[in-house]
Structures are given as structure tokens and as C-alpha cells.
């Protein structure tokens, strides 16, 4: 199998959905998992600490110019956009919020799709805005795999529904199914 990275966009109601997906991924999961979770800008590292306590993979906040590695869950820092550079490192930006969001899912997904092209998996989970819809289209346009959480299974259905409405989502899955799919991918990679 060809996949090289997973990007996840999630907003309101995210903690449970993220935990459901990430907590069973093994410590040596072969792909990097890069997450935009919208959060308060005053909240610096609480999310990473909470998720680390629940996950076997290493969890950290993405650092400026850091090289992206498999087996790590990266979170965008609060109040910064997270972008991916051609050499597969992160860069941060304070530019204007996109869709009222900073970090913006669209920005991560668009830059990730340019770097990983068809080797990228993009996932949109629960949330009450429409951030990520344009990003999902960008991933699809470059041949990547797009997944949205089943709105009926999401605490806040608006965000996955907006992604689905673009017509660019390949599968609509529950949290459980997304987790199984990501585990399956890893088996095929090894």
C-alpha cells in the first residue's frame, strides 16, 4: 500500500472521537498522524497531555520546521496555522484565520495534499463549522483518500456533513470503522 500520512480535522466534540480512533493505534504505527483540533488560543499543551495519556503512539505539538515522522501524532499549536513543506517538515503561520479558524483544517489539508499527493489520507470528524470542506476537495483532486465521520455518529454533524456535501468524500464511516481502517492500512504496510 502506498499511504504515507494521515491528516485529521476535528472541532467541537473532538476529544471522544479522536480518542476512539487514536488510542488503539500501536506505538510503532508506520504513518504520521497530523491533527488540527480547533481549541481556545489560551490552551497551550493540555490537549497533548490528555491525548498522550490515552494513546500508545507518541503525541506532541508540531514544532516549527520539525521533520515529520511515522509513529507520532502531531497536533497544531493553538492560534497558529500548521502547514507542510515540500521537504516534509512543518511550518507555522499566524496569518488571518481561514473560515474563522486558526489553525485551519483547510490550510493543513491543502498543503499536505501538495506534498503527499495520492499518498495522503484525509479525515474529517465532528465539528460545528465547515472548515476542512475545501481541504477534502484538495486531497481528492490529488488522488488522496478522503473519509468523513458519519454525521449520524458525530456529536456535531455540521463539519463532516459540509465535507460530504462537496462530493469529494470517498467513504463515510463511524469512529470505530475509521479506527479499524487505519489499523488495516498499517497491516498492509508492514
Amino acid at each position: 500500500m502506498r499511504y504515507e500520512a494521515v491528516v485529521i480535522g476535528v472541532s467541537a466534540g473532538g476529544l471522544a472521537a479522536l480518542s476512539g480512533i487514536l488510542q488503539e493505534l500501536p506505538a510503532n504505527y508506520p504513518l504520521p498522524v497530523i491533527v488540527i483540533q480547533h481549541r481556545s488560543k489560551d490552551q497551550r499543551t493540555l490537549l497533548e497531555e490528555v491525548m498522550q495519556a490515552r494513546c500508545r503512539m507518541r503525541v506532541k505539538q508540531a514544532d516549527e520546521k520539525e521533520k515529520i515522522e511515522g509513529g507520532v501524532v502531531y497536533f497544531a499549536p493553538a492560534d497558529y496555522h500548521l502547514l507542510i513543506e515540500k521537504d516534509r517538515s512543518f511550518s507555522l503561520s499566524c496569518e488571518e484565520p481561514v473560515n474563522f479558524s486558526r489553525p485551519s483544517v483547510d490550510l493543513l489539508f491543502e498543503t499536505a495534499s501538495e506534498v503527499y499527493e495520492n499518498k495522503l489520507i484525509g479525515v474529517i470528524l465532528t465539528g460545528s463549522n465547515s472548515d476542512g470542506a475545501a481541504g477534502i476537495q484538495a486531497i481528492k483532486a490529488r488522488g488522496g483518500l478522503t473519509i468523513a465521520q458519519d454525521p449520524g455518529n458525530a456529536l456535531f454533524p455540521a463539519m463532516p456533513q459540509a465535507a460530504i456535501n462537496t462530493g469529494s468524500v470517498y467513504s463515510v464511516l463511524t469512529v470505530e470503522e475509521i479506527k479499524n481502517f487505519l489499523l488495516e492500512i498499517a497491516k498492509k504496510l508492514s
Binding site: 514544532d63 516549527e64 520546521k65 499549536p77 497558529y80 502547514l83 507542510i84 513543506e85 515540500k86 511550518s91 507555522l92 503561520s93 499566524c94 496569518e95 488571518e96 490550510l107 491543502e110 498543503t111 501538495e114
Partner: protein, 270 residues
């Protein structure tokens, strides 16, 4: 990939024609902002953009305004200003005359925040703040010191969290939709154009603030700029960076010590 080459070529020609060097900016962000400029101006290819920019200087000025990031606020990251107040100001107070460089001052919000901090510590009168930016229009706005009134609520809350000692509304006058900052804050601020990618050091400072500017540069340019700061600081001078910035890629990183590791405040030790 062709996109990458074309963009590189465009940035090279801009450097050649105007002396503005964007070639060492982090690519993902500059690329996106260049495309944004093309969209709002109905320009369909990088080649066409090049034709417009290299011929028309006013178009180029608008381009600089669009591709440089000018998003800022007063007392942005209140814990940073609190730390400045507690850990740096008392040491600055030991100098008879204090020179501070705010590099990448954008539209001035952080410059005035610093001025307020100095004023409350009784140091403003013996300080000079040099506020520099690559973007002329931002500098002009910084000089005017007029901001949207609707932002003042957030700035007040930031100011309080930063350990402000007065009533924040004492520092501005509300008029229609605008807030005019107290003119006395501006007396000791010098605004001027400086381009970190190409210009040299111009003075010696007790402190340099450069927050959320380096993130837009690649590692090489980050290192060069930090060397420039090192050269521009007096012994035991302070360097303050943005929350997610570090000295990691700088040749001179060994010549700085930590003052506040979390708030990214450093001191020149070598």
C-alpha cells in the same frame, strides 16, 4: 514541481529588480499568499504575475502588503508580557538609557504594548524603541496608532492578564469606530523600514523583540537573522521571540542563555 520552479524564478526576479528578498521565505506560506494575490487580482499564471509586478511598482507595493503577514494584537500572548514585566524590565531599569528594537513591528500593536509596559515601569522616558518593518503601509498604520474600537475589549482582557496596572482605557480615546492610542506613548518610538532578509544592523540594543516573524523564513534565513540580532545586542542584552519560535537553527544559539524558556526570552551570554 513546475509551479515550484516558476515561483522561485519570480522571487529571484523580484529580488533583482526591487531588492526585496523573499527567496528564503518558508515556501508553503509564501506560495499560498502569492496565489491568493493572483486570485484577488484575476491573474491566472505566475508568468503573468511576473509581467505585472516587474513593470508596475504600485502593483508591487500591493503585492508586498499581501504576501507579508500583518496579523497582530496588543499584548498578544499575555503570559509573555507578564514575563517581560517580571524578568526583563527590572534588569533594563539598570541602564541609564534603553534602546529596544522591535523587528517586524507590523501595524504597531506590540510596539505600543511594550511602550505601555515601559511607561508603567517609569522607563519610557529614557527609552527609545526602534520599530521596523518591511511593509511601508503597516509602518504608516503603526505610526498613526489608530485601531478598531471593537478590538479594545480583547486587548483590555490581554492587558489585564499581562499584569497591567492601570485601567487600559486610559491609554486610548474612543472616537466613532476607532481607538486613538495615547500620543505620549509614541514620543520615543522611531518607525522605519528595515528588511531583515537583506539589511544590516543599525545600532546596539539592550533588547530585541521579534515575535512571529522567523516562522515565515527558512532555516538558513532564520539563522542569519538571529546572527544579526546577536551582533546588534549589547552584552547581556535580551532577545524575545514568538511562542513557537526557537534558536534551534541559529549558528549563534550557543551564545544565548534562557531567561524564560516557555515564553522564549533569551539573554546574550557570549
Amino acid at each position: 514541481m513546475r509551479d515550484h520552479e516558476e515561483l522561485k524564478e519570480l522571487l529571484e526576479s523580484i529580488r533583482f529588480v526591487y531588492g526585496y528578498d523573499f527567496t528564503e521565505y518558508a515556501e508553503a506560506s509564501i506560495k499560498r499568499r502569492v496565489h491568493h494575490f493572483m486570485n484577488i487580482n484575476n491573474i491566472s499564471s505566475i508568468k503573468d504575475l511576473g509581467r505585472v509586478l516587474l513593470k508596475d511598482e504600485t502593483a508591487f507595493e500591493r503585492f508586498v502588503q499581501e504576501v507579508t503577514v500583518n496579523v497582530t494584537e496588543m499584548f498578544r500572548d499575555p503570559p509573555f508580557y507578564k514575563s517581560l514585566r517580571e524578568n526583563v524590565i527590572p534588569r533594563l531599569a539598570t541602564y541609564p538609557f534603553i534602546k529596544i528594537w522591535v523587528a517586524g513591528s507590523s501595524t504597531g500593536e506590540e510596539v505600543y504594548s511594550l511602550a505601555i509596559l515601559l511607561k508603567e515601569s517609569g522607563l519610557l522616558e529614557r527609552s527609545v524603541i526602534y520599530a521596523t518593518d518591511i511593509n511601508q503601509r503597516s509602518l504608516q498604520m503603526a505610526k498613526e496608532g489608530v485601531y478598531h474600537l471593537k478590538n479594545m475589549k480583547r486587548y483590555t482582557s490581554n492587558y489585564i492578564k499581562a499584569g497591567g496596572q492601570q485601567s487600559f482605557s486610559d491609554y486610548y480615546m474612543a472616537k466613532y469606530e476607532s481607538a486613538l492610542l495615547d500620543r505620549s506613548l509614541r514620543q520615543n518610538i522611531v518607525f522605519s523600514v528595515h528588511n531583515l532578509a537583506v539589511d544590516k544592523s543599525f545600532n546596539e540594543f539592550q533588547m530585541i523583540l521579534c515575535r512571529n516573524v522567523l516562522i515565515y523564513f527558512n532555516q538558513q534565513l532564520q539563522s542569519n537573522v538571529i546572527d544579526l540580532f546577536h551582533e546588534s545586542l549589547c552584552p547581556l542584552g535580551f532577545l524575545a521571540l514568538g511562542n513557537k519560535e526557537s534558536l534551534l537553527f541559529a549558528n549563534s544559539r550557543g551564545q544565548f542563555g534562557d531567561v524564560d524558556r516557555r515564553e522564549k526570552i533569551f539573554i546574550k551570554t557570549g
